[in-house]
């Protein structure tokens, strides 16, 4: 009897699964039909999306398919390989997800299409941090590094030269931004850390690490050199040869003196170094700090008085894209900025480049919770709809992405622990009156 009931159960389960699959099919189908009630182009709308794994989420491509009928095919590579591919094989992708710092190499290669700003619906709503280099209140922010507004505009449609003033020809449409700083092990350091100079403090000899992605790591190195008063850079993102030599000399001396335990290149490497106690202070990314904490190990994403090293990424289109495919590319970028994706990114602790549409796609409660660090009024849901936080909770759990785009839900051990990552920054901002907006951390902008 029991065998029979078991079989029966399994059959039932299968039927249910079938039903569910059917239902999903219907939903997806109806979505596509309502999206395009009249004409469906004979060619399926497919865009090849080249980028690192970090921003390549299945939910985003699914929702995009539902809303626009565009099928996104992800091509995943490491930061360096993405750049290599753009330069050597511009025909192998349509849309490129990259960061501003690589534009100085990509644009002169002539493989990046100049997007028409007028065709980007939300272009004027992109936070002025990107387009003008100022906060929404008009205050100018730091211009060092590959600041977005310096590489955002081209002189003409086929130009390989960046324009100093805004034009209608745009290189990279920003989607998301955040900032990095040093991560520390407060339990092992046992004193406050307030400056980048601490990275080279001999107190931490053999216990420090720096990021080994040269284009980003050199910025961290320059932050240290400047904080230690050894040199004031005109622009850390455009150093003179003498400045590069000086920075490398200081770093080489530190390395030879045994300051560094190891260098890290990969998200997981940074987590392992910190979690195992090999390092107590190092360049770090906010999700990595979260991951260390999730192992029950104290780790702080430490705000420093000299500021953060911020970064931003977004979309470029390949020069090889033309005709109908170009329209789809515009449609995709417009969809991305239209709010759903922005809200999705905000719910992961990042900042969407177009905050207004993202806000429209979040409840007031969600906005207050994610963006302002206020306690939740109702249940806070993760992008996939699971309940992330019960009503009344303060932000202490967070959904994050691991290095390869896998999402995972992390729960802090106990509510008393200090917040971290973007939340630490938000809390910090609230505590410090001078830091009044999410863009304030761009004060020392070093966009990587």
């Amino acid at each position: 009897m029991s065998t029979f009931s078991k079989m029966n159960k399994s059959v039932n389960r299968r039927v249910v699964l079938k039903g569910a699959a059917g239902a999903v099919g219907i939903v997806a189908g109806s979505g596509a039909i309502t999206g395009f009630p009249y004409v469906r182009s004979a060619e399926p709308k497919v865009l090849r999306y080249l980028g690192t794994a970090v921003n390549e989420g299945d939910e985003i491509s699914k929702k995009c398919m539902e809303d626009t009928g565009i099928k996104i095919e992800y091509i995943t590579a490491t930061t360096d390989d993405v750049t290599k591919r753009v330069i050597t094989q511009p025909n192998s992708f349509d849309v490129l997800d990259t960061e501003y710092f690589s534009l100085k190499k990509l644009v002169p290669s002539g493989n990046i299409f100049a997007l028409d700003a007028k065709k980007i619906k939300e272009f004027d709503n992109i936070t002025p941090v990107f387009t003008k280099g100022q906060l929404p209140n008009g205050k100018k922010i730091g211009a060092q590094g590959t600041a977005p507004w310096k590489v955002l505009y081209l002189e003409g449609a086929n130009s390989r030269m960046f324009s100093k003033t805004p034009t209608e020809f745009v290189t990279l449409i920003p989607t998301v931004y955040n900032a990095d700083t040093l991560g520390i092990r407060p339990d092992l350091i046992k004193r406050p850390i307030t400056s980048w100079t601490e990275l080279l403090n001999s107190e931490f000899k053999g216990n420090a690490s720096i990021l080994n992605i040269p284009s980003i790591g050199i910025m961290d190195a320059a932050m240290v050199v400047e904080a230690s008063g050894q040199h004031q850079y005109e622009d850390k993102g455009n150093m003179t040869k003498a400045e590069i030599d000086l920075t490398m000399k200081i770093m080489t001396e530190a390395k030879k003196a045994g300051q560094f335990r190891a260098f890290w290149k990969d998200f997981n490497e940074s987590v392992n170094l910190m979690a195992s106690g090999e390092t107590v202070i190092q360049s770090m990314w906010s999700p990595a700090v979260t991951k260390v904490r999730s192992m029950g190990i104290a780790c702080t994403f430490q705000p420093l008085k000299e500021g953060y090293r911020s970064w931003a990424s977004g979309f470029c289109v390949s020069k090889a894209v033309a005709g109908q495919k170009l329209d789809w590319a515009y449609e995709f970028v417009n969809w991305y900025l239209s709010g759903w994706a922005g809200a999705y990114l905000n719910r992961q602790g990042y900042y969407s480049a177009v905050l207004s549409t993202a806000r429209a796609n979040m409840t007031a409660d969600e906005w207050a919770y994610w963006m302002e660090g206020k306690p939740a009024v109702g249940d806070i849901k993760a992008p996939d709809g699971t309940i992330l936080e019960k009503a009344g909770a303060r932000p202490r759990r967070r959904l994050l992405r691991r290095s390869h785009g896998r999402r995972c839900l992390l729960e802090r051990g106990h509510g008393r622990e200090r917040l971290h990552g973007p939340q630490v920054e938000r809390v910090h901002r609230r505590l410090m009156p001078s830091q009044d907006s999410p863009h304030q951390r761009m004060r020392q902008v070093l966009v990587r």
Binding site: D80, T83, K84, I87, K104, K105, L106, P108, S109, G206, N212, P214, K255, F260, R261, A262, F263, W264, K265, N272, S276, G277, E278
Partner: protein, 301 residues
């Protein structure tokens, strides 16, 4: 007799059938080895800027590589130091894998009597290869780390007060991982040579009153030479070009010849990377050819 064979060989060389038989291998060899090598050499003499290579003759790839080598004398320049370091790691790894590999092969060939057990034990040696190179390498990290098993064990036993820092992210850990990864490449060819040694030779040596050591140096080692050379070629070529193991186990703080090529590629300086590849190839060929000059493998085989 000899001249007859020679004549027939000459004839064979001319016969189209022989060429046809060799053609598939030649084709594969040309397409996937010679041609890319030619391209690499050509590109190494091109010019470049930050984002592209310029097809104009320039030796910048080479001159940039050796920048400061003359001006910086008597201090060694970075590239020379890097090559010396790579050679040092290579030499250490080679000698250790040779000693260990030879011992294991000797045990398998002469101490294990039954053929079945020889096969079983050889297969046992391959078990680590069931997981990837990277995993076998990374597995050392929690073991050797500051708070790793070894340090905790030694501290627990009261042998040390402070954790040993040189266990991880040092030349020690690099050589350890390289030896661990590549000893098997030494074992197999040496074992292969050893089992072909006629056992009667060893009996004869024993009967003639040779000691164990004399048998080893006069019979086993000379006859195992081809295996030793082949194993050495494997190990040397792999270690000279390695950048992953040296990178991970050295905490990315130890430069190697392979690492230079990788960094150049990541900086999109393809001609410079190609130039370094050509230099590395030249040095490796030098090492290998001097090895084969000492022992003529073709004759020995």
């Amino acid at each position: 007799m000899r001249s007859e064979i020679g004549a027939s060989m000459m004839q064979n060389r001319k016969s189209p059938v022989a060429w046809l038989q060799a053609a598939p291998m030649m084709l594969v060899f040309t397409l996937f080895f010679l041609l890319p090598l030619v391209f690499v050499t050509i590109v190494s003499a091109w010019d470049y800027n930050e984002y592209e290579m310029i097809p104009a003759f320039s030796l910048r790839g080479y001159t940039d590589t050796f920048e400061g080598c003359i001006a910086g004398l008597p201090d060694l320049c970075t590239i020379l130091k890097t090559y010396l370091k790579t050679l040092k790691l290579c030499l250490l790894t080679w000698s250790l894998t040779l000693v260990i590999g030879f011992t294991v092969a000797y045990f398998l060939a002469f101490h294990v009597r039954s053929k079945t057990w020889q096969i079983v034990l050889t297969l046992l040696c391959t078990i680590p290869f069931w997981t990837s190179n990277v995993i076998r390498m990374i597995a050392w990290i929690p073991l050797l780390g500051r708070n790793g098993l070894v340090n905790k064990g030694l501290e627990g036993a009261g042998l040390i007060q402070q954790p040993l820092e040189w266990l991880l992210f040092s030349e020690f850990s690099v050589v350890l991982a390289l030896v661990h990864l590549f000893t098997f490449f030494m074992v197999v060819p040496i074992f292969n040579s050893m089992i072909r040694i006629d056992k009667r030779l060893i009996e004869a040596a024993y009967d003639a009153g040779a000691t164990g050591w004399q048998t080893l140096t006069n019979i086993v080692i000379p006859l195992a030479k081809p295996g030793i050379v082949i194993g050495s070629i494997f190990v040397i070529t792999i270690v000279m070009g390695d950048f992953v193991t040296i990178g991970v186990m050295g905490g990315q703080q130890i430069a190697s010849a392979g690492k230079i090529i990788e960094s150049r590629l990541n900086a999109l300086q393809f001609p410079a990377a190609a130039a370094n590849a050509v230099i590395l190839l030249g040095i490796t060929i030098l090492i290998i050819s001097s090895l084969t000059r000492i022992i003529d493998i073709r004759k020995e085989l």
